[in-house]
C-alpha cells in the first residue's frame, strides 16, 4: 500500500533536527520508520522539534513512532520539543512516558560461550534430578502413611479416576492390542514359513503379548490418555492456586491429589494389561486361522502349551509398575507447571514424554531382572 503520509527530516541548524509530519497516519496503513529518522541524529544534534501544519489525521500508528523517537532521543540526552504536536498526541505521550521503562530484574538468560551453556544445562539437569527425587520421596512417604492408615484423601476421587482410567480406556486398548497381535503374527510367520513351522506363530504371539507387548502398549496408551489428563488437571489447579490453597489448609497435596490417582491407576493397569494380552492373542489367532491356514483347535492348544501363569504374572507386574510411573510422571509435571495456560500445555506434553521414557527404562530393567532370576 502507498503511504498516505510523509515524514521529512531536515536540519535547520547544526544543532537541531526538524521532523515534518504530513498526511494521514492511520491503521491499517503502513507505519513510519523511526529508525530512519533516528539515523539522521549525530553527535552535534541537541534538540528535535516537529512541524505539523500538513498533518491531517493520526492514530496509534503515529504514536508508536513518536514514543520510540522520544525514548531514543531521551537516552541520547537530546531535548524533544513536543509543542507543535496536536494536544491529544501530547497528552497520550505524557501518559506513556509517565512511568519510566521498567528494567524488571529477571533471571538473566546468559548468552555465553558453549562451555558456559553446557555448564548451565548440567546444573539445570542436576536441579531437575533433585526435584524428581524429592517428589518421588514425598510420594513414597505418603504411601507409607497410607499403609499406616493415616493418609488423607477422598475415596470418591479414587472411584472417579478408576472410571476415567479403566472402562473408558477399553476401546482404544482393544484396537491397539488387536493390531499388535496381528503384527506379531505376521512378523513371526514370514520367518517361520521357511522352516514350515508356522504353528509356532502361536507361541511367539502368546509369549510376546503376555510378557512384553501387552504391558508396554497399555502403558503407552495410558501415558497418553491418563498421564496427560493428570498433568492437565494438576497443572490447572497449580495455575489457579488451588494447590496452594490445599497447603494453607494443612492438607498435603501429595496425599490428597497424587495418592488417589496412583491407587486407581495401579489397580486398573494389571486388569487392562490382562485384557490387552487376551485381545492380542486373539489378533494372532485371526491371522493364524485365516491367512496361515492353521487349524483353530491346534492354534489354541499350542497357545495354551506355550503359556504358563508366570508369563502372565510378569506382564501384569510390569503393568502395575508402569501405572506408578505414569501417575507419578503426570502428577509431578502437573504440580511443577507454571501459572499460565501455556505452561499447563507444556506440562501435559512433558508428562507424556516423561512417562514413556520411564516406561521404557523400567521395562528394560525388569526384563533384565526377570532374566537373571530365570522367570
Amino acid at each position: 500500500m502507498q503511504p498516505a503520509f510523509e515524514v521529512l527530516v531536515s536540519r535547520p541548524s547544526n544543532e537541531s533536527l526538524c521532523i515534518r509530519l504530513a498526511g494521514t497516519f492511520e491503521s491499517p496503513g503502513p507505519a513510519p520508520d523511526a529508525a530512519a529518522a533516528l539515523a539522521a541524529i549525530d553527535d552535534e544534534i541537541r534538540s528535535i522539534h516537529f512541524e505539523t501544519n500538513a498533518l491531517r489525521s493520526w492514530d496509534s500508528t503515529l504514536m508508536a513512532f513518536l514514543l520510540k523517537l522520544v525514548r531514543s532521543a531521551e537516552a541520547l540526552g537530546i531535548a524533544v520539543e513536543l509543542d507543535a504536536l496536536p494536544s491529544g498526541a501530547r497528552r497520550l505521550l505524557a501518559l506513556a512516558t509517565a512511568v519510566p521503562e521498567a528494567d524488571p530484574a529477571r533471571p538473566e538468560v546468559a548468552a555465553h560461550g558453549k562451555l558456559a551453556r553446557a555448564g548451565v544445562r548440567a546444573a539445570g539437569a542436576w536441579v531437575e534430578t533433585q526435584k524428581v527425587t524429592t517428589f518421588v520421596g514425598e510420594v513414597a512417604l505418603s504411601v507409607i502413611k497410607l499403609v499406616r492408615g493415616r493418609a488423607r484423601f477422598r475415596g470418591g476421587d479414587v472411584w472417579r479416576v478408576i472410571q476415567e482410567a479403566g472402562p473408558s480406556a477399553l476401546p482404544i486398548v482393544s484396537l491397539i492390542s488387536f493390531l499388535v497381535g496381528l503384527i506379531l503374527a505376521f512378523v513371526a510367520a514370514v520367518q517361520l514359513q521357511y522352516f514350515g513351522a508356522q504353528i509356532y506363530v502361536a507361541d511367539l504371539v502368546a509369549l510376546g503379548m503376555a510378557r512384553e507387548m501387552g504391558a508396554m502398549m497399555t502403558g503407552i496408551i495410558m501415558a497418553g490418555r491418563t498421564g496427560a489428563a493428570f498433568a492437565a488437571q494438576l497443572g490447572a489447579m497449580t495455575a489457579n492456586e488451588e494447590i496452594d490453597a490445599l497447603s494453607t489448609f494443612g492438607i498435603p497435596p501429595i496425599d490428597f491429589l497424587v495418592l488417589p490417582r496412583m491407587i486407581a491407576l495401579v489397580a486398573m493397569m494389571p486388569l487392562l494389561v490382562l485384557y490387552s494380552d487376551l485381545v492380542g492373542i486373539l489378533g494372532g489367532l485371526v491371522v493364524g486361522v485365516t491367512i496361515l491356514d492353521l487349524n483353530f483347535a491346534e492354534y489354541v492348544n499350542e497357545t495354551r502349551a506355550a503359556l504358563d501363569l508366570a508369563d502372565f504374572g510378569t506382564g501384569l507386574f510390569k503393568g502395575a509398575v508402569y501405572g506408578v510411573a505414569i501417575a507419578v510422571a503426570g502428577c509431578l509435571r502437573g504440580m511443577q507447571s507454571g501459572r499460565s495456560s501455556a505452561a499447563v500445555g507444556e506440562a501435559t506434553t512433558s508428562a507424556v514424554v516423561t512417562a514413556i521414557v520411564w516406561i521404557v527404562l523400567t521395562s528394560a530393567a525388569l526384563t533384565l531382572v526377570y532374566n537373571v532370576l530365570g522367570i
Binding site: 488437571q233 489457579n240 492456586e241 488451588e242 490453597a245 489448609f249 494443612g250 492438607i251
Partner: protein, 252 residues
C-alpha cells in the same frame, strides 16, 4: 480464641523468587486485633509478602516471628499446626474446581472439626449466607462469576473461625455494595471473633474505613516506605510518594 499482644513480628525480611529480590528490609509488627493493610503499586510484591506471612513462600532473609517464635525456622509439623489457625483468601479465590461450593467449605471443616456431615453442611450454608451466596451451595466454581468466586473463597477462609485472616484484594472485582458489605463483614469478624486481619487492598474506602495500620511497599526502591495509621500515611507521612498514592495522584 482471641488473644492480646503481638501476633506477627517481621524483622529484616527479604522476599523474592530465585535470585530475584522483590522486597527487602521489611520491619513491622502486627498486633492482635489489628486490621493491617498492605498497599503499594501493582507488582511491588504485596502478594509475595502475604505468601511469606501465611507460610507458602520461604523468605530469602530475615525472620517472621509468630507469637514470638520463628515461623520459618520451626519444624514443618509445627508450622502446619500454626497454619491451621490461619484463614487465607487468594487473589483469584483459588476454589477447588472439582468440588461444589459446599464441598469446598466442607473439606477443611471435615479435616479439623468433629462436626457431623449435616452440621458441616449447615455451617457451609451459614458462611455462604454471610457473603451473600445463600442458595449456591451446589454450584461449581466454573458456574459462578469471578466476584462470586472471590466471595466463596472468603467464606471458605472464615469457616474455621481462624485467628488470623489473610486477604489478597478481597474487594477487587466486587460491585460497590458488595464491597461495602465485605468491609462490614471484616469488621464484624474482627470484633466478634477477635481475629487479626492482614489484607492487601487498593480500595481507599476500606483502607481508611476499617484499616488500623498500613504498610506501604515501594516498587522502585524495593522496600517499605511508610508504616502507620492509614490517615497518618495520607496526611502527614513525610514521603510525598505515599501521600500522593493515597490521594489517587492528587498532590496535597
Amino acid at each position: 480464641m482471641s488473644s492480646t499482644g503481638t501476633q506477627i513480628e517481621v524483622r529484616g525480611l527479604e522476599i523474592g523468587y530465585g535470585d530475584f529480590s522483590v522486597q527487602h528490609g521489611l520491619d513491622f509488627s502486627i498486633e492482635s486485633g489489628d486490621i493491617f493493610v498492605i498497599i503499594g503499586g501493582s507488582g511491588c510484591g504485596k502478594s509475595t509478602l502475604l505468601r511469606a506471612l501465611f507460610g507458602l513462600t520461604r523468605p530469602k532473609r530475615g525472620s517472621i516471628l509468630y507469637r514470638g517464635e520463628d515461623f520459618w525456622e520451626a519444624p514443618t509439623a509445627q508450622r502446619q499446626r500454626w497454619m491451621q489457625r490461619f484463614g487465607v483468601l487468594f487473589q483469584a479465590g483459588a476454589l477447588w474446581s472439582s468440588m461444589t461450593l459446599a464441598e469446598n467449605i466442607a473439606l477443611p471443616l471435615g479435616e479439623y472439626t468433629d462436626l457431623s456431615k449435616a452440621e458441616i453442611r449447615d455451617r457451609a450454608s451459614w458462611v455462604l449466607s454471610l457473603v451473600g451466596l445463600a442458595g449456591f451451595e451446589d454450584f461449581r466454581p466454573a458456574e459462578i462469576s469471578g466476584g462470586m468466586r472471590k466471595r466463596a473463597g472468603l467464606a471458605r477462609a472464615v469457616a474455621l473461625d481462624p485467628e488470623i485472616l489473610f486477604f489478597d484484594e478481597p474487594s477487587a472485582g466486587l460491585d460497590p455494595l458488595s464491597s461495602k458489605r465485605l468491609d462490614e463483614l471484616i469488621l464484624l469478624l474482627q470484633e466478634t471473633l477477635g481475629s487479626t486481619i492482614v489484607m492487601v487492598t487498593h480500595e481507599l474506602a476500606s483502607i481508611f474505613g476499617i484499616g488500623t495500620k498500613a504498610l506501604f511497599l515501594d516498587a522502585e526502591s524495593h522496600t517499605q516506605l511508610a508504616l502507620g495509621s492509614p490517615a497518618w500515611l495520607r496526611d502527614e507521612c513525610p514521603d510525598p510518594k505515599v501521600r500522593t498514592f493515597l490521594r489517587r495522584g492528587e498532590n496535597g
